[in-house]
Amino acid sequence: MRYLPSSPVEDRALLDAIGVMDAETLLSGIPEPLRLRRELELPTQSSEQEVAGQMLAMANRNTRFCAQFLGAGAYDHFVPSAIDALISRQEWFTAYTPYQPEISQGTLQHLFEYQTLICDLTGLEVTNASLYDGGTSCVEAALMAVRVAKKRHTVLVSRGLHPLYREVLQTNFAPHAELNLVEVDLKEGITDLADLQAKLSGDVAAVLVGYPNFLGAVEDLAALAGPIHAAGALLVSVTQEAFAFGWLEAPGKLGADMACGEAMSLGNKPTFGGPFLGFLAGKDAHKRELPGRVVGQAKDLQDRTGYVLTLTAREQHIRRDKATSNICSNQGLVTLRANIFMQLAGPEGLKGLAEQNAAKAQYLRQRLLELPDMEVVVDQPFFNEFVLRYRGDYAALEAACLKESLLPGLDLGRYYPEYQGCILWCATELHTRSMIESLVELLARVPTTV
């Protein structure tokens, strides 16, 4: 076994020093009836060459596409080469959580910079060193809002929030009989203000709104903030596509008290949904209610500036069952990818990329609308995703696309019965004009009748 340092001579020397005949003797602490007295029924060890071949064969059993027009919470963007090169350094990818600051300043300073940039993107004052993904970030945001609001037990969730985020919220709220999750309807593709106002009460701790929402529509956070704050509740902006921060005003500047969501777009590939990057930012006044790891500035004995994990009195290893969350390991290396990405992009890169995304999505929409079977269903400002009604049969469209190695947009009816027959399309900077044209030409040939 190539990863084990065993050799008969050395193994003997170790066992002699310990004073046992064989390694099995050291298992005497495990009662005999609990010992496994057979070999595991699994294949035996393999060479690197064999395993590499086996795994490549598995990867090749996935279908490759020329272009994916599917976003819906997992976006395909270009990843600069510097990212993989840098994260491949063992000092980054093999290190542990930075518990010993004097020997972990690399990770800690990186996280301090990462926190700064997440605050910049969201227009808020504090954030943590990451959460698992968009769905679980909503859970942590909702629970944090309940702690901040005190004695309020209801969290309102716009129906425009990613449907899978809403499912993760449901799962995590189920054990808490004292808490309620209530959905707010959509009207014309955005949160219905009248329904929101009807559901706001003195018991509402927070309102979670997609920005942009799952249908791609840009919600006017500023317009929602008024009634939400008047009811004494917190506005939580949920962004599933972090590139939107280069196009849309920061939620914190529009009245959002917290911003959470998914930042996988910053330097990651879709990778079948993970590892992704959950984030959660909020106001300075609420920092002691943040979940998870937080990095702060500190001085050493010689008054030099360094960084440490801080506000740890919130955390599980100190507070145990009174902790703000059970999270400890989070998405460390993914935050590094995001930090490198943001530093390479800079303000002009981020805005420029966002403008390209908007341009590609607008072009795709305009071209699709030239087809007789496509029509507008949600007419709201959008970023890089939008919904169109399709009069034809989605299955036929999908089959035709797949035959040409194109992955079409999402069949929205799977998640929103009221949008049966509608498709959620996405375009990013990776979609060339010719890819868009191939799609449109192909769709023009798909039979429209069911």
Binding site: D11, V168, D321, G346, L402
Partner: protein, 514 residues
Amino acid sequence: MFLRQREPLIFERSVPGKRGMDLPRLDVPEAQDTRPVHLRRGGFEALPELSEVDVIRHFTRLSKWNYGVDDGIYPLGSCTMKHNPRLNERVAGLPGFTDTHPMAPDALVQGNLELVYTLQEWLKEITGLPGVTLQPSAGAAGELTGVMLIRAYHLSRGAKRRVILIPDSGHGTNPATAAMAGYEVVELPSQPDGTISFKDVTDPTSGKVRKGLLSLVTELGPEIAGAMITNPNTVGVFEYRFKEISDLLHSIGALVYMDGANMNALIGVARPGDFGVDVMHLNLHKTFSTPHGGGGPGAGPVCCAEQLRPFLPVPVVVRETPSVGAGEVPVSTYRWDWDRPESIGKVHTFYGNFGILVRALTYCLSHGSDGLKAATLRAIVNANYIRVRLQGAYDLHIDSPSLHEVVFSDTRQAKREVHTLDIAKRLIDHGYHPPTIYFPLIVPGAMMIEPTESEDKFELDAFCDTMLTIAREAEEIPAALHHAPILAPLRRLDETTAARKPVLRWQKPAILPA
């Protein structure tokens, strides 16, 4: 290892007009601005302007202030800092995996589904438990999923139980998880050998009596939903009465959760399914060599007994193998099954940290059943070797047989006013990452050392020699150790002030009036 010069915060390096990214030519008309004016992105306050060279040098220099597994032994107890094979990284980067979209139709991601299915089969055989979900993103997420399965099980039987028992030696995540799943935590005391006490325990100093397992089971009976037990426990000792504990809990209708953080001591030699465990999590970033990444991403799969399978998170992968004629080889297909009416729901937006699952399966295939068992035995030999070499210089607070890790106490050094923190910081001066310190809480001044199977005799001896040197220093120059580290890029940091007046981000310095 360490870079001596300071690397400033990147924001101080920003120069207006620099670019680290060139955008592709726009081959479609420019975007029309449909945004209401107030929703248009304003300026950024911190995003720096840098060239690619600046960024690469910044992160290269910063990396030199970190210690990694390739620098040498990383003896953090309970963290299982083993070698991270490079093949795993290469395989996880295959575009066939990284380009796949989580909402693509099942027929187009057969490789991914096969991978999920295959890894689940390995974990089932390793744990002896028939149900698996790979969705939880970390150990703590696995714990939460597992406890929610327990809750769903009791609810399905019409029972509302409010208490989870957790030993005082348990990881902090256990009680935090139980609270997040809506349970009240009742602590189980340890006995002097570090294992769970059946009898009541009287604290020798305060005289306070803490109820043991038997009293708690008698008193709380039908209120107990289950217990969360780490095995081997955080002292590195096998809970030798585990089967009795699970039989007792099962007799009152409660379930047993096993925290599998220390599974590196058991693979191939014992299976939790054989000790009455109903549900457990594994840490793929510990036992299965996926890199720690400076704090994730990890993965915390949950394995469970038959009666908990209906409650597993959706979706569940299913293999379908058609029946074929004699001599023909059937081709299996895989699909996600979303139709699970009793499921607790989703615990991750998609299917968990898939890229980590790729690495873990690569680890399994490389080791095979024989390699996995050999790794377990070697990890145990290594911990015992350290124990034998250091027990003359450091006190073993608990003298039970060690498995994969060994916990020392600073009681001997404390007499000279040298404490665990000083020893840990001095290790940094000698070029090592310190062990886990002050955990478990039941050992005074704990130093929890887990070498893993990756270390050979040369590395073990070098580390032990250093620990012995520090023990001598503690005798001879105790006051000097309070200053450690002196050779790291920074001296000890003032964490108290950092928490009292937190600075959590960089802010542009205000321009002072002239």
